[in-house]
């Protein structure tokens, strides 16, 4: 099976960040340290290919917090599968998100 997306290093880092619970655009930027301008296009591409899924946060929670609702990203089944590829290609990438190193 051909890959759904080109697995560059930034793409891999974004996927791993989401896997480690950094689910909002700005969180991913903070967690990965990738240049600000690259993160969103990667998220969009992955979402469009079905690797990620973007979901709006519950309005109630946002309202209680007096701010607009945020959009978070989670891995789809395809995404979970793709993680295997990521780790195969960049075996040490998980270390980026281990506690104390991020």
């Amino acid at each position: 099976m051909g890959r759904l997306f080109s697995l560059t290093y930034p793409t891999a880092v974004v996927l791993m960040a989401i896997r480690h619970g950094h689910r909002y655009g700005f969180d991913v930027m903070d967690a990965t340290g990738l240049p600000d301008g690259t993160v969103y296009p990667i998220l969009r591409r992955l979402e469009r290919r079905g690797v990620l899924e973007g979901v709006w946060e519950d309005e109630e929670i946002a309202r209680a917090d007096q701010r607009p609702a945020r959009r978070y990203y989670r891995l789809t089944a395809v995404g979970e599968e793709a993680l295997g590829d990521v780790l195969e290609r960049f075996p040490t990438i998980g270390r980026l998100f281990e506690p104390g190193t991020a």
Binding site: P35, D36, G37, P41
Partner: protein
């Protein structure tokens, strides 16, 4: 500012995103920014760094928006080149960093100064069709006398002039008002109802004044400023229809003006209706200023012509008025200027010079980057030749180089905008207080557009230099040469690089001379004798209207009692009261005459400045008595009719004799005034500025008229001199004044030294900006000369090696290299002196007490330029002298 940084940007660029995705895209970015901002604010007020980071993150949404648009998907042509260029710049970090910082500095200060120029000079006034607004004033004796506009002339123009659609009068004043139980002195304007229609502004709440409210006997009405309404009444619309007491008179609030409204500048906290009797408006009371709106299609010249014609026929319209003769005497003439020009005044020269200055700095910065790019171009010749051999055309090569220049320039612009944001904030804090339209200054789309043009322009400018290295014919030769340095190519290459350095040196010298001259002006201003002694004096304004103390005698007692008590405060040396005070409050003018010099038929009356003083003016203000004595409480309505005159007044009428004992009086026409005997002559004191030529001045006592029915100045400047810190006295003085008169506030409290600083603020501001600009220019210029000499040395290593091998000493090699730097700097100096000479008249307009061609400044700074250039060449020269001859020869 609680606005989340970047939200505006998101909304602006959202249109790039396809419509179907737009609202969701916007929502996501807004939510992220808001969330990040709230988290940041939760840890205390976010600093500039936090704001900047969030702003940068918001800007990065551009790539996202472009992605959504599908534009980044196709990486061809320019985008491909930009990507390659970006990679190559990342590889050559040091070069990229130096270039970007240099450009950032240049673009940053240009953006800053352009923000000032745009806000003050270019942007139209914030009124509808503001280009039709004109200032309508008068002058006499070829601009010696400033006569604003009288109610009589206002009425005349309003009735007769067809070139004027509407005309309004306004006069700015201060009144006492009880706000929240505390007496306050606030700025107000008395305006005719036509003032608002002329400007084309309506109240936000309530209504404006009606025509009837502008007639005598109509009662008092008030329009509040938005800020005052918010501060004092919490923005309660219920205030409309209520009455408030202003300086003892009851007035009804009829409306609230829109936020930020003010004319000519925001400042007035409320407006009161000025009443003019259309049948009997006096010709002579020139107490208000005039603003008018021209009719469609009319011009300044047409207004001047028509209004001038009406003035010529004054007798016809004011047959009864005694003022006609006087106004004829001074040759009254209307002065009509576009309102913007009237408000901006003479600050425009300063701002344009500053913009030119920072333009020079940017040129110098570009020359530096061009030089760096030239070096890089040398090292890429072989690569370019290869590309050309495999089919890249000239256009491709231009694009490769231009993408690099554009990236450098754009990155510089981002840093530059950051610098500008900080610099504008700093500038607004230190800007001279007489700079008009400050409220309108800010970084906005217009300024950013300017920055964008500057960015692209710079990129084109410095990007072109390396291209000269790749003329089409050269490339194949270069490939054949294998990149070896031919002997002939050196000449043109050096010429270009040397030319750039010479230009830098020349520009830097022009700026150095400019800032040096400003420094000398500042020194000259500071060295001027203002005619008074500002050290240790605090001043405050006091007004006691008739509603507070009806009898003049009460006011006089108040002054004397307050003086006694203030003198008892620790450290106080003297106390005085005066109607006007140097650099603090303006003097009034009137015609005067002396008993010894009756005015001849065809002689113009003497128009002098007058003041009323009481207490101890020489002690408190530090006026210097040249002859006789000063006025004190013995003088005035109750005692001697005495007066003091200034040195200029003495020189006018009594150049060779003592004026003591001679008599003078006001000569206003109409009822005869009383004669006052001169008891003292004082040194000329600065009135409104330090630069002005001293006018004839007289000082009357604080009380005038007959002892049984006298008048007293109720609106005075209190001055207190102390041996200690003058500001520390203020609470004590306020206590004393309010014990004696609870509803009398101290207004405009300031020290005379602050007034002096303000009087020199424009010069010191220009000096600081020019000084910083020329400092940066010199630094960049030195980096340039250092770079060029280093490069020359590196290119000549082999030759130097040969020389050393043949017995040249290190010193002689060093001198040889330094000489090259010296030659470049000297040529730059000569060119720079020529350029400065060409610009001497522009600069002259800003100077005071120093000639634009001051030899000391020119010579000294030229010397400094050449010396620092020699110092900058010394390091590469020293390196050259340490070349190992064997190594250098082997290396080839």
């Amino acid at each position: 500012m609680n606005e989340v940084p970047g939200l505006l940007w998101i909304r602006r660029i959202a249109w790039l995103v396809p419509r179907s995705r737009r609202s969701s895209w916007c929502r996501e970015w807004e939510a992220e920014l808001t969330w990040a901002w709230r988290r940041m604010s939760g840890r205390g007020e976010p600093g500039w760094w936090g704001r900047l980071r969030l702003q940068l993150r918001a800007w990065s949404s551009l790539t996202d928006a472009l992605w959504e648009r599908g534009e980044t998907m196709t990486m061809t042509g320019w985008t491909q080149d930009l990507r390659l260029a970006l990679r190559s710049l990342i590889r050559h970090r040091a070069f990229a960093l130096v270039s970007i910082l240099t450009l950032g500095l240049g673009i940053g200060i240009n953006t800053t100064v352009f923000t000032l120029v745009d806000g003050v000079l270019l942007r139209p006034l914030p009124f509808p069709e503001s280009e039709e607004l004109i200032s309508l004033q008068h002058e006499g004796r070829e601009s010696d006398d400033q006569l604003p506009i009288s109610t009589g002339l206002y009425q005349l123009y309003r009735d007769q002039a067809r070139t004027i659609e509407e005309i309004g009068l306004y006069t700015t004043n201060q009144v006492n008002l009880i706000v929240d139980g505390r007496p306050e002195r606030i700025e107000v304007q008395f305006v005719t109802p036509s003032f608002f229609t002329t400007l084309g502004v309506s109240p936000e709440v309530g209504r404006a004044f009606t025509e009837e409210e502008g007639l005598p006997g109509a009662g008092n009405y008030i329009l509040l400023s938005h800020a005052f309404w918010r501060d004092a009444w919490g923005g309660d619309p219920g205030i409309i229809g209520q009455s408030i007491e202003v300086s003892g008179n009851v007035a009804e609030v009829v409306g609230v003006m829109p936020r930020g409204f003010g004319f000519p500048e925001p400042g007035a906290r409320l407006w009161l209706n000025l009443q003019v009797d259309p049948e009997n408006a006096p010709l002579s009371n020139f107490s208000a200023d005039g603003v008018a709106r021209m009719t469609d299609g009319s011009s300044i010249e047409a207004v001047v012509g028509e209004v001038g014609g009406l003035v010529d026929r004054m007798e016809e319209f004011f047959p009864e008025s005694g003022a006609v003769t006087f106004l004829r005497g001074v040759g009254i003439a209307p002065v009509v200027v576009p309102m913007k020009e009237a408000i901006v005044g003479d600050v425009s020269t300063t701002l344009w010079v500053l913009l030119g200055t920072v333009g020079f700095v940017l040129l110098i910065a570009c020359a530096n980057v061009a030089n760096l790019l030239l070096v890089r171009a040398e090292s890429r010749q072989r690569e370019m030749a290869l590309r050309s051999a495999v089919g890249a055309g000239r256009g491709d090569i231009v694009r490769w180089f231009m993408s690099e220049s554009l990236i450098l320039s754009a990155a510089g612009a981002i840093i530059g905008v950051g610098i500008a944001v900080a610099a504008i904030r700093l500038t607004l804090r230190f800007v001279p207080n007489d700079l008009p339209r400050m409220a309108e200054i800010g970084l906005d789309v217009r300024v950013l557009a300017f920055t964008a043009v500057l960015t692209v322009g710079s990129a084109l400018f410095f990007g072109l230099f390396p291209l000269t290295r790749f003329g089409s014919g050269h490339l194949s030769d270069r490939l054949r040469e294998g990149g070896a340095r031919g002997a002939t190519e050196g000449a043109s290459r050096h010429l270009l690089r040397n030319g750039l350095v010479v230009t830098q040196m020349a520009l830097a010298l022009v700026l150095l001379i400019g800032s040096g001259l400003m420094f000398r002006s500042f020194q000259a201003l500071r060295a001027l004798d203002p005619g008074f002694d500002p050290e240790g004096v605090v001043t405050a304004q006091i007004a006691i209207p008739g509603s507070v103390m009806e009898e003049p005698a009460q006011v006089l007692n108040f002054y004397r009692e307050a003086q006694e008590r203030i003198l008892a405060l620790p450290g106080v040396q003297a106390v005085s009261y005066s109607a006007a005070a140097p650099l603090v409050r303006g003097w009034s003018y009137s015609t005067m005459e002396s008993e010894d010099h009756p005015r001849g038929e065809d002689e113009l009356p003497v128009f002098g400045a007058w003041n009323h003083v009481g207490g101890d003016p020489t002690g408190a203000l530090g006026l210097r008595i040249l002859e006789g004595r000063q006025l004190d409480w013995r003088d005035g309505a109750d005692g001697n009719r005495s007066m003091m005159i200034s040195r200029t007044m003495k020189e006018l009428w009594w150049p060779d004799e003592s004026p003591i004992g001679r008599r003078m009086r006001f000569a206003m026409g109409g009822e005869p005034q009383e004669w006052y005997t001169i008891v003292g002559v004082v040194e000329n004191a600065a009135q409104n500025s330090l630069q002005e030529t001293p006018r004839e001045m007289v000082y009357w006592p604080l009380t005038v008229g007959h002892a049984d029915a006298f008048q007293i100045m109720r609106n005075v400047v209190l001055a207190v001199r102390t041996t200690g810190e003058p500001v520390a006295l203020v609470p004590g003085i306020r206590d004393i004044v309010q014990t004696l008169s609870p509803s009398t506030p101290l207004a405009n409290v300031q020290t005379l030294e602050e007034a002096m600083d303000r009087a020199t603020s424009r010069t010191s501001f220009t000096m600081t900006l020019l000084g910083s600009a020329s400092g940066i220019a010199l630094l960049l210029g030195l980096v340039g000369i250092y770079g060029v000499i280093s490069y020359i040395v590196s290119q000549r290593t082999r030759e130097i090696g040969v020389r050393l091998a043949l017995g040249a000493t290190g010193t002689s090699v060093r001198n040889m290299v330094v000489r090259q730097g010296l030659v470049l700097a000297s040529i730059g100096m000569v060119v720079g002196l020529g350029a400065a000479w060409a610009m001497r008249s522009v600069m002259g307009a800003l100077l005071f007490g120093v000639s634009a061609t001051d030899p000391l400044t020119w010579g000294g700074l030229s010397g400094i330029l050449v010396l620092t250039a020699v110092a900058a060449s010394w390091l590469p020269a020293w390196r050259a002298s340490r070349v190992d001859p064997a190594g250098a020869l082997r290396a080839e």
